[in-house]
Structure formats: structure tokens, C-alpha cells
């Protein structure tokens, strides 16, 4: 006999898990060699084997030399610069960045390649990217694959951080002593998640839900609980655990549920010997409150004076049962030809059936009641468990805060002060490894118009472009279209758009928002005539001004 394991309400895959498990490169890498080469017969192999070997070697060499890096600034000679800090590895430090951000570097935050803590001074390189021009110039890929769909990041700010020893050797972050960044962010929404760019896997990794509010010692994805600690009274931190009045809530629910139970099942009643009654076939689906009973009869209400005894001897052609105005009341309609009579009735049972019905009702009611009480009991236990977990968590946070170093407190107090006096909005990042960290919200491609795009210069010559960049004003994102997607170019005709590209000779070619306005809404293809500037840019500010974004 087959063995099947039964799972009830098992944990589902989250969208993030699906997105992260998707890895086409793994499929391709395990593909048998014969499948990769479709057209080549054995004869063909024999003929070209030696030539192919030579070509392969040459191509491999060429590829290894020319494959662009994952982070590839597209406009040669212009990039977003790093700020370099020299700081002691064995002491806590707070660093100021030009945007208003504050970086807290605890002691022992740096490890060498063998995992040893660094003792001497280190050089920390840091930069932030905040707008579409920054994203473009940095060359950091802004697309994110999740569950088979490619999204583009709408960003609330990125931080790029790395560290080196005095000899220029790359250092690694110590996860036991993480750097914390309070990043000043112009975007104040709470819809941005935290992602880290995995430059080896060449994809973004989802790290945590939004950390938009200022929180204390640890990165806190449930930051609401820490709001009460905004005033930062650190010595000692006031212990405050909010206790929900769960007992009262549960009691109320209990009462409501019992009321519902009694309403979902008719209460058996005995037949009244002085009243007419009859049996009617009815759909149990339409009247679930009577579905479990056998031999349900319907008795004419004593208040219904329309019923006449002679009706009992007529063979009616149609009988229809409907719910009455009140609970346990029904309306039955008899009809024959043009004659129709409706009466108020209620369900009853004759002696033995009544006893059986009563047993059924009692059993069922008790079962329901027990199940509900059990459910409520479980919920209460669950609530108590959660309460205890929350209490433990709060205790832990409070302990962490009390034990935190003075410099960390200074960092937190300065963030709080900046929030209050300079009205800066901060996002907190806990750095477990160096690289690019991003507060982002995945966005789909612009909607509204889709066309086949062709890109030409002002003389009508086709431009050879690897990619074009589209920015929709109001969205802090750069939508990058690669050559293969030029025939599926999407944009929002109702928005203010700017498009540009970098030509083969490293010049900026632009299609401005006023040009977009000339595009019809329902066109299927369009030739974009880009204006190429001869200006050679040397500074990112010049590029920002030129692009006007």
C-alpha cells in the first residue's frame, strides 16, 4: 500500500523564497553539452573540431578579458565618488556623511580574510546614491527578479560601503559587531524593504522589511514597539511592556460564538396534536439548519387562519418552501393549476423522531461548543505565549540598550536630535557584510503604452546601443531597457518621461520630456531621435544638470 504523508495547513512558499530559489544559471550549467549545441552533427564536429578548439580558446580569452564587471558605470570617467574615512578598528566611532547620515562603527567591526579581528587603523569607503542620476552613473543594476517577474527598484536610498587595511587589502564585516547606518532618506514612505547586492550571484537579496523609522540598538523590523523609546532615556531605560486585554476579548468572542451555534441549527420541537402538519421534501443545501435531522415535518402555525382543513385532501402539483420572517419560521406555498396558497409553518417532530432529533441537536451543540471552547482555549494559550515572547524580546532589547556602548548612545542621540531639529528622516541599516545596501520598493515597468522602439541620431543614423535608460518623473527609479527589449518598450504617456543612452563613443544621447509629448498614445512603433551632446562630462553634478532629473 502506498504511503502518503498528510500535512494540514503546511507553511507556504513566500514570494521572496520563490524569487531567491529561481536560478536559471544553475539549469544552464547542468545542461548536457549535446543539448547546448543543437545544429552540429558528428560530421560537422569532425570537420571543425580543430578550428573550434582554436576559436574557443580565443573566444574564452577574449571573453575573460572583456566581460564587463557586474557593477559597470556606463559613462566612462564619471562616477559617484566615495568618501574615505580612516578610523581605529579597536574603538567605537561615529562618522558623519555629507547627506546627514550617521554611521556607527563599533570596535572589532572589521575582519581580515582569515576571520581575524583587525587591530590597526582601517580605511572605510562610503557613498550614498539617492536619485536616478546617481543610480545611472554608478552602474549598479537596479532590476530585481522575484517569482519570475523582473521588477525595477524604486529606491529610498542606497549605501555602498567597503573597508581596506593600510596595505589596501579588502576587509570583511564582522557580523558579531555590525556597523549601523542611519541613512538620511528623502523618501518618507514605509513601503521600502532592505536588499543587499550579491555581486557573486549577481542578484539582489531581500534582507528585511522596511526600517523606515528611527530605531535603537538593533535593526528592528517591528519598529512600532520601539516608538515609545524615541526620547532615548538610556540610563536606565524605562521598562514598559504593553499588556493587551486579551482575556476580555476572548470572553466576548466566546459568547458570540455560542450565539452563532444556536442560530445555525433549529431547536427540535414536538408536534402539536391540534395542528395540521405535513412532510415536504426540501434541499438540505438550501436549508442547512435542518440538514442533519430525519423526518422533519412542518406544522401550520396556530396564528395562520388562512389554512383550511379541506386543503389536506388535495393533491398539490407544486410545493415550495422558503424561509420565513423569523428564525425557525418558514413559508410553504402549495399550488395546483391557478390555485395557490401560502401558509406560515414551522418544523416539528413526532414522538420518536423528536427524541432522535433532540439527541442529535444536543450532541451537535455540545460538539460545537466543545470545539469552540477548545479553540478559544488554544487561542488564549497562543496569546499568552506571544505575550511572553514579546516580553522576553522587550527585556532583551532593553538589556541591549543598557549595555550598549556610550558611542552607540551618542549615535542614537544624534540621530534623534537631527530628526527633531533638522527634520531628517532616517532609515537604519545593519551591515552584516560590505557592499551595496538598498532601501527599495520593487516596481513594475511603466504602464500605458508599449511599442517597438528604434533609436537614431539627428541625422537619421541608427544608433548602436546596448541599453537605454528611462526615468518617469516622480518615481525614484531608472528603468533600463536592454537591446533585446527594445521591441517591448513601455512607458507611461501620462507621465513626464526622459530617456537617454550612452553611445559607443561615450557620449550622452537624450530624448527629453517635451519630445515624449509628441508621441501618440496608440502607436505600435516609434523612432526615437536622440540628441547627442558633444560635451565631455567630468563630474556627476554636470550630468545631473544635463539630464535635468
Amino acid at each position: 500500500m502506498k504511503k502518503i504523508k498528510i500535512n494540514i495547513d503546511r507553511e507556504k512558499f513566500s514570494q521572496e523564497e520563490i524569487g531567491q530559489s529561481m536560478d536559471f544559471s544553475k539549469i544552464i550549467s547542468t545542461l548536457p553539452a549535446t543539448t547546448k549545441l543543437f545544429y552540429k552533427s558528428p560530421i560537422f564536429y569532425a570537420t571543425v573540431f580543430s578550428i573550434a578548439t582554436i576559436i574557443t580558446v580565443v573566444v574564452l580569452k577574449y571573453t575573460m578579458q572583456t566581460e564587463p564587471p557586474f557593477i559597470n558605470p556606463p559613462l566612462k570617467g564619471v562616477n559617484i565618488g566615495y568618501t574615505e574615512y580612516t578610523l581605529p578598528a579597536k574603538a567605537d566611532t561615529v562618522l558623519d556623511y555629507q547627506t546627514g547620515s550617521l554611521i556607527y562603527v563599533p570596535k572589532d567591526a572589521f575582519l581580515d580574510k582569515d576571520g581575524n579581528a583587525i587591530n590597526e587603523n582601517v580605511i572605510l569607503k562610503y557613498r550614498e546614491l539617492h536619485d536616478p542620476a546617481d543610480f545611472f552613473l554608478s552602474g549598479i543594476p537596479m532590476n530585481y527578479d522575484s517569482a519570475g517577474t523582473t521588477y525595477f527598484f524604486e529606491s529610498a536610498g542606497m549605501a555602498d560601503i567597503s573597508a581596506f587595511d593600510s596595505k589596501g587589502n579588502l576587509l570583511f564585516a564582522n557580523p558579531k559587531s555590525p556597523i549601523r547606518i542611519g541613512m538620511a532618506s528623502p523618501q518618507k514612505d514605509d513601503r521600502y524593504n532592505v536588499y543587499n547586492l550579491d555581486s557573486i550571484a549577481r542578484k539582489w537579496k531581500f534582507i528585511a522589511k522596511d526600517t523606515s523609522k528611527y530605531v535603537s540598538a538593533t535593526i528592528d523590523t517591528t519598529h512600532k514597539q520601539m516608538d515609545s523609546l524615541k526620547q532615548f532615556s538610556y540610563t536606565p531605560v524605562v521598562k514598559k511592556v504593553v499588556e493587551a486585554d486579551t482575556d476580555n476579548l476572548i470572553q466576548k468572542e466566546n459568547i458570540n460564538n455560542v450565539v452563532e451555534i444556536t442560530q445555525s441549527l433549529i431547536v427540535p420541537k414536538k408536534a402539536n396534536s391540534g395542528q395540521y402538519h405535513f412532510k415536504i421534501s426540501f434541499s438540505k443545501k438550501d436549508f442547512p439548519e435542518m440538514a442533519g435531522y430525519e423526518n422533519v415535518l412542518f406544522e401550520v402555525d396556530s396564528s395562520d387562519k388562512e389554512f383550511k382543513s379541506q386543503y389536506a385532501s388535495i393533491t398539490w402539483e407544486n410545493v415550495k418552501l422558503m424561509n420565513g420572517a423569523k428564525e425557525n419560521e418558514y413559508v410553504v406555498t402549495f399550488s395546483k393549476g391557478t390555485e395557490t396558497h401560502s401558509f406560515n409553518v414551522h418544523p416539528i417532530f413526532e414522538s420518536n423522531d423528536y427524541n432522535a432529533a433532540l439527541i442529535f441537536y444536543t450532541k451537535k451543540f455540545n460538539n460545537y461548543k466543545n470545539a469552540y471552547l477548545q479553540k478559544i482555549d488554544n487561542e488564549k494559550k497562543e496569546q499568552e505565549k506571544k505575550k511572553l515572547e514579546q516580553k522576553t524580546l522587550n527585556e532583551k532589547r532593553i538589556t541591549e540598550m543598557n549595555e550598549a556602548s556610550n558611542m552607540q548612545m551618542i549615535w542614537q542621540q544624534r540621530l534623534a536630535a537631527k530628526m527633531q531639529t533638522e527634520n531628517i528622516f532616517f532609515r537604519t541599516l545593519q551591515i552584516n557584510n560590505f557592499g551595496v545596501w538598498n532601501c527599495d520598493c520593487p516596481a513594475t515597468l511603466p504602464q500605458g503604452a508599449k511599442l517597438i522602439a528604434d533609436f537614431r541620431d539627428e541625422k537619421g543614423n541608427k544608433l548602436s546601443l546596448d541599453k537605454v535608460y528611462l526615468v518617469e518623473k516622480g518615481k525614484n527609479a531608472v528603468f533600463t531597457y536592454y537591446g533585446s527589449s527594445f521591441n517591448r518598450f513601455q512607458y507611461n504617456p501620462d507621465a513626464e518621461n526622459i530617456l537617454w543612452a550612452v553611445t559607443e563613443d561615450n557620449k550622452l544621447a537624450i530624448f527629453r520630456s517635451e519630445n515624449f509629448k509628441a508621441l501618440g498614445k496608440n502607436i505600435s512603433s516609434y523612432t526615437f531621435t536622440l540628441t547627442i551632446t558633444d560635451k565631455m562630462f567630468t563630474d556627476y553634478k554636470e550630468v545631473k544638470t544635463f539630464l535635468d532629473i
Binding site: K2, D9, F24, L31, P32, T35, F38, A147, G148
Partner: protein, 192 residues
């Protein structure tokens, strides 16, 4: 003759998918578009029938690898490409179960119970008891019948799609499902 896919809405999408398959036949790296498009569907289909997430991920990788290896044999028959992928997934799962490489699991979402008991037109007593009887009856079904119940009630697939995946007509799928429902009903009643 132009073939209209049963699920795709526009000619543009049909043409796009056919082009993608043809391109992937020439260059396997082009298969990535289809991989991304159907990865989640296949993963969830597999996960519905296995015990662990790791098993589901492993089988799903195998499904796409086999699809890519055998892409040349694929012929467009007017149904979405996904139907072909589901069939590969079923074959892969059956092979794994047969060789006891992974555990066959019956994964029930209690939200789906009401629908199935309603279809059977049986009175729902305490949910726990009902669930117990249902799981016993379901696990006693032959593989092909359990598959149809899973597809219809746990994955909410339309009969048309079930027909496409299982290579039968929509009507045939419907008739079979209701016969299995009758069988299940009798089985559940026998426990009372």
C-alpha cells in the same frame, strides 16, 4: 492554419510564446524567459505533492532541465507551454515516488475543505472529524484520482486546464472528477 491557445488572450502573446520557444531551441540561454514565466507555477504544483520545500526545489530544477533538454521535441498544440511543463513535472514526480526518492505528501489547506464537502453534499460535522475522514478517504484513492482532486480543489484549476495537462477533454475531466467525488462521498459515509 492559425492555432489559438486556450488560455492566452491575445494573438500577440501566443506569437510571443511560440517565438520564445523557437528561440530557446536555437539558443538554450533564451529559455530563461520561459523559465521565469513558469517557475513559480511549476514549483507550487510540485510542492503540492511533496513533503518538503527542498524536495520541491530539487524536482522543479529537474523539470526545467528536462524541459530544456527535450525542447526540440515540443510541438505547439494550442495549449499553453505550461501544460507540457506540468506533464514533465508529473512524470518526474512519479519517477521519484516510484523509486522512493521523495515522500509523496497530501497537503491539505483547511480553507479548501468546505468546498469539497459541499460538492459531496454531505453534512459537515465537527471540522476535525470531517477532516480526518476526508484525509483517510483521499489517501486511499488511486494516484490518478488523487491527482485530479488535488488539481480541482486544492489548486483550483479549471476543468479545461486539467484536461490540457492530463491530455483529456474538458468534459472528460469534469465527469471523472464528479465520479471521484461520488466515490469519496461513499467512502466518507462508510466511516460514520
Amino acid at each position: 492554419m492559425e492555432i489559438i491557445s486556450k488560455y492566452h488572450v491575445t494573438h500577440e502573446l501566443i506569437a510571443e510564446e511560440r517565438d520564445q520557444i523557437m528561440e530557446a531551441c536555437k539558443d538554450p540561454s533564451k529559455f530563461e524567459v520561459l523559465y521565469k514565466k513558469y517557475y513559480q507555477k511549476i514549483l507550487l504544483f510540485v510542492y503540492q505533492r511533496v513533503d518538503t520545500k527542498d524536495d520541491a526545489l530539487d524536482v522543479t530544477s529537474q523539470v526545467f532541465l528536462k524541459a530544456l533538454v527535450n525542447l526540440k521535441r515540443y510541438t505547439f498544440k494550442g495549449v499553453p507551454f505550461s501544460a507540457w511543463l506540468y506533464r514533465i513535472a508529473l512524470n518526474e514526480l512519479n519517477t521519484m515516488f516510484r523509486h522512493n526518492k521523495i515522500q509523496r505528501a497530501l497537503n491539505i489547506d483547511t480553507d479548501c475543505i468546505d468546498e469539497i464537502t459541499e460538492e459531496m453534499d454531505i453534512l459537515t460535522e465537527e471540522k476535525e472529524n470531517e477532516l480526518d475522514k476526508l484525509t483517510q478517504s483521499l489517501s486511499a484513492l488511486p494516484d490518478n484520482e488523487l491527482l485530479m482532486i488535488e488539481m480541482r480543489f486544492f489548486e483550483k484549476r479549471p476543468f479545461r486546464e486539467m484536461g490540457d495537462i492530463l491530455n483529456m477533454t474538458e468534459n472528460n475531466a469534469k465527469v471523472k472528477v464528479y465520479r471521484i467525488i461520488d466515490k469519496l462521498k461513499k467512502s466518507i459515509m462508510s466511516y460514520r
